[in-house]
Symmetry: C2
């Protein structure tokens, strides 16, 4: 009697106090259940609260204390690869992770432009459906494997490039493709996951980490957040290798980002025997006694080769002169190298040594894709630094990110010219920073705000129209580079 | 090319600038249409923006400049009477107004408690449907009469008591009825009007002016806003006469409000010949040569009598001793007074003098309802002032509000003891302040914020359980009062 506050105001008071927010929203259906629910449950209820920009939204109220079941899905929506994590929001810990190639790939996987054109011609609905199906399959598999009810997943945090964000949300992409390359939205508000088609709690919100520009997405925002580039005194570089590679240069005072269309070869896609970095993938390779030795994720027989394995293999073949500096297989250089229908094909694992009894190979096409990818990334890095009047030696830290799995041999990567030549001690492989940053956002409102600040603060730099890009790209089409002096080893 | 901002950010930038808000929300469907719409309309689009607490929401985007068609509905959701205005949001002007008795009245109209009990027993859905139907009928009538498409009505601003707010939104009322009288929500967020069932633009938002307590609603918040009680140096009183009367005492430093269940007699309901203050209602009455003369709204023959006419008639009958100080008809005092089946019945207009050829009468029951209503209001006012240690003479301004139409004779009202005895010059009839305040909110964000502040700032005072209330009520059951000295005329 001494505190006859209305039910909604009582719940909001508790949420303001516990969640530290000032404004609380409630849907009509939840409000209608609010008088009965506490009274039927001895005044103990559990509210699930989401965030819509500056406003907290009560998404669900349940009787009793159900706060123990509090899960989120975190998704890296890549052009070629989709990675999903299910996380426990209470413990701020990983429950399980799963990856797959994006099934949109069936509609043209090599360059994003092709995908966009397909979207325009055929309608985007099919593309949207495919990516949503992939995400649903990953989440439901993870939920089942970990004995989690999908209705207890009440938030989905996505990071991806701007075009994938458009595909997933069903936003038109026509204007991104044409000059002046205008996105529909770089920073969409959270939507109901159900409205997008993602099957978790029906009232769950789906958040996208905000993009930096039409060609530099929220995966890069997440990457900056995860590596701490935005708070470092010293200037660092982040290279995120994906189907679209992105390069960020900066420190706590400024950040500049650009993109380079490198293709999916370094993710293991567009490669004959390529696969994602999961059980059965060759993740390491080296030459021993003229033969390539490899290590398979999970042990056992290989089913394919992932990005880190491809990098190692190319570096090993270059070292042993099976590949020349132009990136071409040298006929007769090794017994494992054969020519079939005019196409060079190097057998890494014979069919009898593999799980599926098919040989694991590297073809000249694969090699060309790898060389093109590394040239695109190197050229973009070089031009960015040139424009900023910085030399490679001014870079105090190099973060290499991408879906390589647990491992990448940075010396090998540098030996084929993927990165700017730096003392190896300054370089670090940081894994999938897109999903790392998205997880940080999942676990912290502060990180969510910070992601917004980073996306606004980072300057987008368009290299595509630039003349020096073509020139730099051509020079980088050698292993490691036309100008070999750039790659003289240095020590820090 | 020099400003390749994404479409959503471009629209948001314009809205931030024009509407002075920091946070802008957009629905997925609107976002999906955003790239095509400006490009198909020479980059001229019109956004309709609503407000959800601290966030602006883009509710609709149309091609071309459609800003000329910008309407809102403002609704006073009273227990007995529903009043709707359609307003032009550009001109901040009234387009049309219409009122009706609340059709919920069929389910028990005299006291709110009865309504609530019905709601509990039979389910509230029927009650919700009825009030929504009334509102839809009023709005569609107004729209049709003024050649307005209901889809151009993009906001509905409602003011009403807390229980009516619950009925309209379909919120459970069971907990309001039982001690400690807890409402589901005193300050619900805006909802889609369509979700509530109100037929205007499908994405229009429906706002409720926030309530002060379980028994003092947003109609009173609106009344304080409209009269400026909250910003006055001097202490004033607002008496809002409705089926539930409310009294507010205060100034810019403090505000206290209470409610008094007075019944609907002074609105013209629960009176044999009563009607709302519209065309055909007797709105004024006076005695001339022993006969009651009246004035009809719109001229012509009367169809009934509204609140202001009832007040005037009772005052005139008291003055001419047709009614005694106990509020009873005096047998044989006037030829127009007859007794039928033991019930006294005074004929104001003979059947041949009326539009519908039925006599317009005042019965003893009507009179009892009027006396009870005025006693409830007077007793509540007196106790509020006593508790605040204020006398009637400390009141510098008295605002009398209610659905009396254009007119109320304050001297007559005071002569029967409806108001505290004050110099008439300090009293002012201010009409329907519920809808006035709601219109202010419709036209100004500042007023919307202010309504929230007023509702939080005003102290709710519960008189119902108080012993002095019963005593004061009994004393006030005389005309003007048992203690006649309270009503000695004073001059300011």
């Amino acid at each position: 009697m001494s505190d006859s506050l209305a039910d909604a105001q009582r719940v909001q008071r508790a949420i303001r106090k516990l969640a530290g927010v000032s404004s609380v929203q409630t849907g009509l259906k939840i409000l209608r259940g609010l008088p009965a629910l506490p009274r039927e449950n001895r005044f103990t209820v559990t509210a699930t609260v989401g965030r819509r920009r500056d406003v907290a939204e009560i998404m669900e109220i349940e009787g009793e204390d159900t706060s123990g079941r509090n899960y989120m899905a975190v998704v890296d929506v890549g052009t070629s690869t989709i990675v999903a994590h299910v996380v426990d929001a209470n413990a701020a810990s990983l429950v399980g992770a799963q990856a797959c190639f994006n099934s949109q790939s069936a509609y043209g996987r090599e360059v994003m432009a092709r995908r966009i054109m397909y979207g325009e011609k055929m309608g985007q609905d099919r593309l949207q459906e495919r990516v949503v199906e992939d995400i649903n399959r990953l989440i439901s598999t993870l939920a089942a494997a970990n004995d989690i009810n999908t209705k207890d997943i009440t938030a989905v945090i996505c990071a991806g490039n701007t075009v994938m964000m458009h595909f997933l949300l069903g936003l038109p992409t026509a204007a991104i493709r044409r000059s002046p390359f205008v996105a529909a939205d770089l920073n969409p508000p959270p939507f109901r996951a159900a409205e997008v088609g993602v099957k978790v709690n029906p009232r769950a919100l789906l958040y996208f980490i905000p993009s930096i520009g039409s060609w530099v997405g929220g995966d890069v925002t997440a990457g900056i957040l995860a590596t701490g580039l935005h708070e470092s005194e010293k200037t660092g570089v982040l290279i995120d290798i994906g189907t679209n590679g992105e390069i960020v240069v900066g420190n706590k005072d400024w950040l500049v980002a650009c993109s380079a269309s490198d293709g999916p070869a370094l993710e293991g896609a567009s490669v004959a025997s390529g696969m994602v970095a999961e059980h059965g993938a060759i993740e390491k390779a080296r030459v021993q006694d003229g033969t390539i030795r490899y290590k398979v994720i999970g042990g056992g027989l290989p089913r394919g080769i992932c990005g880190s394995g491809i990098l190692d293999a190319v570096a090993a073949l270059l070292k042993t002169n099976v590949i020349d500096r132009a990136g071409k297989f040298v006929e007769g250089s090794h017994p494992a190298l054969r020519f079939e229908d005019g196409q060079a094909c190097y057998t890494l694992a014979q069919s009898e040594e593999t799980a599926h009894k098919r040989g694991i190979v590297l073809t000249q096409d694969d090699l060309d894709n790898v060389v093109t990818a590394k040239a695109a990334i190197f050229a973009a890095s070089k031009i960015m630094l040139d424009r900023l009047k910085l030399g490679f030696s001014d870079i105090s830290r190099l973060f290499v990110a991408g879906g390589f799995g647990n491992y990448i041999n940075l010396e090998n990567a540098m030996s084929i010219g993927l990165f700017p030549p730096l003392p190896v001690s300054r370089a670090r492989y940081v894994g999938n920073t897109s999903i790392c940053g998205a997880r940080m956002v999942a676990f912290s409102d502060e990180a969510y705000q910070l992601a917004g600040e980073i996306s606004r603060k980072t300057t987008y730099c368009d290299l595509m129209g630039s003349n020096d890009y073509v020139e730099q790209f051509k020079q980088a089409m050698f292993l490691p580079h036309t100008n070999i002096e750039l790659f003289e080893p240095r020590r820090s």
